[in-house]
Assembly symmetry: C2
Homo-oligomer: 386 residues x 2
């Protein structure tokens, strides 16, 4: 039996605080504006991917969460694999004795440790893990920044999952995408107090896909170009400064404003795109009232292309923030002993009425690290999923 070569890695989910929305080139996944995100802990949310290759494999196959994907029809996947094979073939050319892994077919197995039903964008972690796993399998010399340019072509925001902590995706200027890449803004340990809670909304329905949605916005929103060209560049600078200074007030204000503006340009699209529902809006009201009562930002909310909320908060405010949401959503799964249900003094109690079932699950997590190698393999000795 020919040998099976393999490498396994994990990669984190990232949640943007300055949003990516709109491509200037759909083929290369080049964005209309830079963006910035926070990697979440892989304890709670991660993709585990094993990439393997062998002369005995007949074709490239990807198994994603237990089902075989059609690689031939997934052009984004093919682009990533071909880019990595090309880099491997250079390694082989420069090291004549090395195995010609670039000529072998790949078997890739990928699994998330969170349910797809959670509605969290899993493609970012998925493509980051896939690229990082194959790069490790091929023992490529490329840096994470360089690999991020490949992951970007799989799924735009995947480039940001090549790093832990706080990561920007610099949009770049070149037409070939050679400068559209991710770079780390700060590590997780730079700001260890930063926590995150994800509130999963019950019965969330699948909305407009982000790929088609963002291009509809580019084509029809008259506010969008102004945002991309005039507002986001300023916010990127301000957000980097806020993170460097561990300034939660600025971080929260920018995070909230940018989430709302992203959903505003979705609404300015023809036909309009809605991701927030009444529960999402209710969570916003609760967070705004909490910040008002606290006299400062203690909870920064952000929403991606779906109704689920992500809250960033500092560990010193854990009881204040989680206590309120636990009071409102006692029946949700996932609460910990970190916080008991509690409404802060002075809070508008009229807002607490009629709460209850909008949130089915919470995920309490924090800022996390970037992709890691692991010994945990998802393939068996035959090169098939375990």
């Amino acid at each position: 039996m020919p040998q099976i070569y393999q490498a396994s890695v994990t990669a984190p989910v990232n949640i943007a605080v300055i949003k990516y929305w709109g491509k200037r080139c759909t083929k290369l996944n080049l964005p209309t504006n830079s963006s910035l995100s926070v990697a979440l802990s892989q304890e709670n949310l991660r993709t585990l991917t094993t990439a393997s290759c062998s002369e005995q494999f007949d074709k490239d196959i990807l198994w994603l969460n237990g089902s075989e994907e059609n690689v031939a029809s997934n052009s984004r996947l093919i682009i990533c694999i071909e880019n990595l094979r090309l880099l491997r073939s250079r390694v082989e050319k420069e090291n004549p004795g090395s195995q010609t892994l670039s000529k072998m077919n790949l078997h890739i197995v990928s699994e998330n440790n969170f349910p797809t039903a959670a509605g969290l964008a899993s493609s970012a972690a998925g493509f980051a893990a896939l690229v990082y796993a194959i790069a490790n399998l091929y023992k490529l010399p490329q840096s994470e920044i360089q690999l991020s340019r490949i992951a970007r072509q799989g799924s735009g925001s995947a480039c940001r999952s090549l790093f832990g902590g706080y990561t920007s995706w610099e949009m770049g200027n070149n037409d070939d995408g050679s400068d559209s890449q991710a770079q780390q803004v700060a590590t997780k340990s730079h700001w260890p107090d930063m926590k995150a809670a994800i509130l999963i909304i019950s019965a969330a329905k699948k909305g407009v896909s982000s790929t088609s949605g963002m291009q509809a916005t580019v084509a029809t929103s008259t506010l969008f170009t102004y945002r991309a060209q005039h507002i986001v560049p300023i916010r990127m600078q301000e957000m980097k400064k806020a993170i460097a200074a561990r300034d939660f007030q600025s971080f929260a204000e920018l995070t909230i404003k940018d989430s709302n503006q992203f959903h505003a340009v979705c609404l300015d699209t023809m036909p309009p795109i809605f991701y927030l529902n009444d529960t999402s809006r209710y969570i916003i009201r609760l967070a705004e009232e909490l910040n008002r009562v606290a006299g400062k930002y203690v909870a920064a909310y952000t929403f991606d292309a779906g109704p689920n909320a992500v809250l960033y908060y500092l560990s010193e405010n854990t009881q204040l923030v989680l206590g309120l949401f636990r009071e409102c959503y006692r029946k949700a799964k996932g609460w910990s002993s970190d916080a008991r249900p509690c409404v802060p003094e002075g809070f508008n109690l009229g807002l607490i009425k009629n709460v209850g079932t909008g949130v089915c699950q919470v995920i309490l997590t924090e800022v996390g690290d970037g992709p890691k190698e692991t010994d945990e393999s998802l393939i068996n000795e035959k090169g098939l999923p375990r």
Copy 2:
């Protein structure tokens, strides 16, 4: 007993298709952008106001829908009354024999023919009727355009209720507001096929008031200024052209886009302002799908500072438009024999599931006339509300 002088008028509700949102001067109610609206038929929606004055009246009193308002604390009301008294005193100076009505106190009684619970902006019709009634009582020579500058100071959009049909509020340039006034773009008879339906949302809660909401937008939305300065001026021109040409396709597209953009800048406000709820958004989806199936715009939706929908449509599409919404909201009050419940062929039936109780009432109406004198008086021989 001293004589009681009186005049009674009715004025229409108007619903903007290019939205007013934001003041450049709050004292004079000068807007940041021009706007354009449609007056609705007074058969269905109107304010009836009787203005009277007499030497026997001790003070200015306003009875609004049965309850006495505190005139002294209503600065907007005082401004309107003082402006009109000043104009009357000029009439008296020029006509030495005339009664000195300007020295007498006013008793004003005002009533809407629609429930306040309907959540329709009644201040526009209310201030228009009040100004027009007092102007008639005083036999002022001023035109509707001139009177609209006074009504504007009561409630911005009230200036547009001085006319029937299609009316623009030209924002003007002068600091004193002397050129910020309404003017008729087209009469009701210019486009007799235009119909309107109002869908009243069940259990609509009072949201942020439009006065405080719009100034929060001016202060905090980074998209707002761009809309006011660069987008609305173009849309005003296009909308006037669409109305002149009776071009429903352009009319509908502009109406829809401007409603969505108005709600987008509300969402871009800090803290964000929400007027649309899940039912509002559902109505949008139904209208968008209806237009898609029809292959053209047949229903133009617009939402003011609340969740209720207003649909404009041409009479030839009555069955198509009302039939769909009647199918979805069979239990709502107010449907007529004009349309039976019906889902058009090719309509995405998945959208029809789980409909039912979001809309409690519909008001089927059409474009209407401007303010009118009436013999129907709301005061009795003692100068008190009947």
